[in-house]
């Protein structure tokens, strides 16, 4: 009886959109939609997945019927955009937890109404961390204008500015990082005006008073929060004349150090600071006993830029003794490794593989690779998260069940955050694009979502210890 009533209600609503009652002819395939949410897996606490129907002729009237376990909602699309209310969406998610939501789209083109095959949105029981922090910046070369750090509430569309460079003399803000997805322990850098590394400790930001040559760049937190590993990179960039990769970013030199926030000292070892080797992208294991990083034999740069292959290595770390152990090489190719990130449960390591070099965000062939730390030789299918374009900077959710990746798959240039569900065996389900109230914003928006990082709690950036005044550029 309940189902009949619901079906009746759906028909009434559909008729309200101008769709005649009865069955419209079937198109015989799923609708083309943007973002592609067909077959994705989402957490039960995600904001509504609005989408556009991009089928030829479907720019006008559209009807979408969402249904899950006896609950249905029928919606009229406007200008081809299907939006669902937050309350209805929550009910659907709750009903579909561990199962799926079916979405049937009908649209009216020149020849009348037609109905597409329904597609599924799988709903996982694993929740995702509530917040995602990223930097918004143009995917540029040497010039930037406005940029900033922003926090997105994944349960809604609310995006909160954390720190915009309008407030800091239009400088460069980069490499924000959190300790174990905890927003109360954060580090980031600023370049140009107010240049330095800023560390959030006990609710206040300190500007680190430590000098290294080259400067500290990519951070990796020790889970205890006392130590932060940094790579010291002498970074340069050049531009390809006829390659699908536009920009080539490379290091002339790089080492890895560990910063002790209690003593304000920098620790290192010849094993991770060798002139004969480029060491970069440090990342601690969640037990704090192992420091992962990437290393490559030093080559003459930039002449041999495309011959550099980074291996995935690890070195033991004893936090009590503040000492390093021996080096282990986990992965030597094929390809070149960057951005190793260990899942908080310590089972998997997610990294980027490109054909060469380390700055994979500019390498169209960059893909993610999952390494099972208990069985390194096991091949794990990553087709759910990888695409034909750049898939690079990634981070884990605190429950190790979600990974976010920066991907250029939409237009080849502007990075967008895709979130993928990671199953217990390390395989990933089809990733979904971060939902927006108006999904068309991704076509108009002229900034990249850079360094997406999950946090369990709300990020708060209070007063920064800005000493020198930022003079305007003339």
């Amino acid at each position: 009886m309940k189902r009949i009533l619901i079906s009746g209600l759906v028909l009434i609503l559909a008729a309200g959109c101008g769709m005649p009652s009865g069955t419209a002819p079937s198109a015989g395939h799923e609708p083309a939609i943007f973002p592609d949410y067909s077959g994705v897996t989402v957490p039960a606490n995600i904001a509504p997945l609005h989408f556009c129907v991009t089928e030829e002729g479907c720019e006008g009237k559209t009807v979408a019927e969402f249904s899950a376990d006896g609950i249905s909602a029928s919606l009229c699309g406007r200008d081809g955009v299907v939006s669902i209310g937050r309350r209805q969406w929550k009910k659907l998610l709750k009903a579909a937890e561990g199962d799926f939501i079916s979405v049937k789209v009908s649209c009216r083109d020149g020849s009348g109404w037609k109905t597409f095959d329904p597609f599924r949105i799988n709903v996982s029981k694993d929740p995702v961390d509530k917040y995602l922090t990223y930097r918004l910046i143009e995917p540029g070369y040497e010039v930037w204008n406005e940029m900033g750090l922003y926090m997105r509430d994944l349960e809604s569309y609310r995006q909160t500015p954390l720190l915009k460079n309008r407030s800091t003399g239009f400088n460069c803000i980069n490499c924000h990082s959190f300790c174990m997805q905890d927003a109360s322990r954060m580090v980031f850098h600023m370049r140009a005006a107010h240049g330095g590394t800023y560390l959030l400790k006990d609710g206040n930001f300190d500007k680190l008073n430590v000098k290294t040559t080259p400067g500290m760049v990519y951070p990796g937190w020790h889970p205890g929060g006392r130590f932060i590993a940094f790579s010291l990179n002498d970074i340069k960039q050049l531009f390809h004349t006829s390659d699908r990769n536009r920009v080539e970013v490379y290091d002339l030199a790089s080492d890895v150090v560990v910063y002790d926030s209690e003593t304000n000292e920098v620790l290192t070892s010849p094993e991770i600071s060798s002139k004969a080797v480029f060491e970069t992208f440090p990342a601690f294991a969640p037990d704090g006993k192992t420091l992962y990083y990437c290393s490559a034999d030093t080559l003459s740069m930039p002449e041999r830029y495309d011959e550099v292959r980074y291996r995935l290595c690890s070195i033991g770390f004893d936090e009590k003794e503040r000492s390093f152990g021996s080096v282990d090489t986990l992965y030597t190719g094929p390809g070149s490794v960057s951005f190793p990130r260990v899942s908080p449960d310590g089972k998997y390591l997610l990294c980027t593989i490109a054909s060469y070099g380390n700055f994979s965000i500019w390498h169209q062939d960059a893909d993610l690779r999952m390494i099972d730390l208990s069985d390194r030789k096991r091949e794990i299918d990553m087709s759910g998260i990888n695409s034909g374009s750049v898939d690079s900077y990634h981070s884990w959710s605190s429950n190790s069940r979600w990974a976010v990746v920066s991907s250029r798959r939409i237009d080849g240039l502007y990075t967008r955050p895709f979130i993928a569900h990671v199953n217990g065996d390390g395989t990933v389900d089809k990733a979904f694009l971060l939902p927006q109230k108006d999904p068309r914003m991704y076509h108009d928006f002229m900034k990249s979502f850079n360094i997406p990082e999950f946090t369990r709690n709300r990020v708060k950036i209070g007063k920064l210890p800005l000493e020198d005044s930022a003079s305007p550029q003339k």
Partner: protein
Amino acid sequence: MNHMMKKILPAIYWAVLTLLLFAWLHAGGRFHFFFMEQTALFANTPDTLLKAFSLPSGFVSMVSDFLQQGFFLPCFGAAVMALLLGAAGVVSYLALRKRMDSVMVCAALATVPAAAGAFILFDSNISCSEPLALLFLAFGLLWYYSLDGSRSNTVRIVAAALILFWLAGAAAVPFVIITAFEELFRKPSNPASLIPAALVLALVIICVKAQMFGEYRDLLLPDNFYNLRLHPTAQVYIAWFSLPAVFIIALVCRKTGFMKGKAVAATAVIALLTVCGAFVLNAKTEKPAFYQELDFYARNGRWEDLLKATRGRNERNHLCSALKNLALAEQGQLADKLFSYAQTGVEGLYLQWKPVPYVSILLSDLYWSMGNITLAQKAAFEANVSYDNHNPRMIQRLIDTNLAYGQYDVAEKYISILEKTWRYRSWARGRKAMLGDDDAVMADPVLSEKRKCIPDTDVLSGMYGENPTELALIAESNPSHKATIEYLGCIYLLASDLTDFMDLVDKYYSTEVLPVLPKSFQEAVLICAEQHPGAEEKYDISPEVLANYAAFRDFYLKNKSNSGLQSQLKARFGDTYWVYFLAN
């Protein structure tokens, strides 16, 4: 003055003043307003309206962008600016008249903000936002002075202040200050008079704390109407404060009885001095105005006009020289006529990179002309970023470079942005038809040539030094792209690097890349032939060049001990490479 005259004379006065402003702005700022059109992009979508109301002062920004999109029309920019300032003057006058009897005093006082506005209108870092915000402020004050002065107006002032704050941002600040003064003068013991000011201050603090604005000055002062990366000039503040200042002066005069008889003369002098000051200070803006003129010609492919405009002006300026040489290259005359114009060295062919928007724009044009699509794209991207992604010309360049590369997805993104504008919609739709269609790109005379310029062999731009290596690769890739090889040869000539020049000529002469030697190349070959006799026989040197060189050589040998030789050579042979080579 009878009642009729009191109405007619001010109307005539403001009409004449507005017309004078228009005439002055049009005469001095023709190219400035064309340039302003390039700094804003108005998307004709409902989203634009929504965004306009999402931030304080978003509305004036939107209206400003809306108006600026029409500035490509001759006279339109000057007319809009003159009308905005004239309207601000008229509305201020009407507001002052609500409390003052003297038509002349009110007219003279209200002239001050209108005239002071002229201080800022040739500043390329300012949009229409500031005059618009001044107009909103004037309307706010007119509304306030129309209220019944015998009762408390706090609630209504609060409402007006909030509306003003949301529509025109910083305009609410002088509004609440003036109204607070008025209310306190009216009823000194009423603390409620300060509520609107306190509320606006609280909103300013909230907006800055919420990171909607970077600094307090963005909402307390007119900084948000200026290029956000720069601090406004003194003129911007003068223009901004002149309007509230006249109302404060009027208020003090009214309440204290000060300056009754002398008020007309004093205020008229102030207004006059302001106008004169505007003229004097504006004279200093000649340099950007000249660049804006050249940029206009370059943007519209008016190369002859560009060459005419530069003749005899700013001859030692690299930027001017680079534009001149760009005009020659685009006309296929770079290597033939290079020395018909004063040259400033290699930097006069292509400028050194600087993180400055206008340099990036020029570099994008230069690289595009040379056929270096990689660097044309890089410079266009950086220029567009510098203009907050609002430079239509650079977006067009990004579309073209991406079409040339066959990167259709990102080209589509930029096309969709221009499709939402009125002015560039049809151009964008023309380009849209090429998406994913290599044949359509190759059928386009410009894009096909540029696509052919993309070298088959990838190199990292700049890895092997500067431009020359890349230009050689481009020239080999597209021998029919004459500008590439001409730029390359001219770089060697201006650097007086005849060894590399001769290597270039030896390698490419009589090939598709360099079937004949242009005039300046022939002249350079003759210099090399001095050390390697017979070298000229390998090349087809024209009889005119040979005869001219014989005359030059003869003259030089006869007069080489003459102290005025350089100037004599310049007078007789100034359009040849020989004179440049001797001087450098």
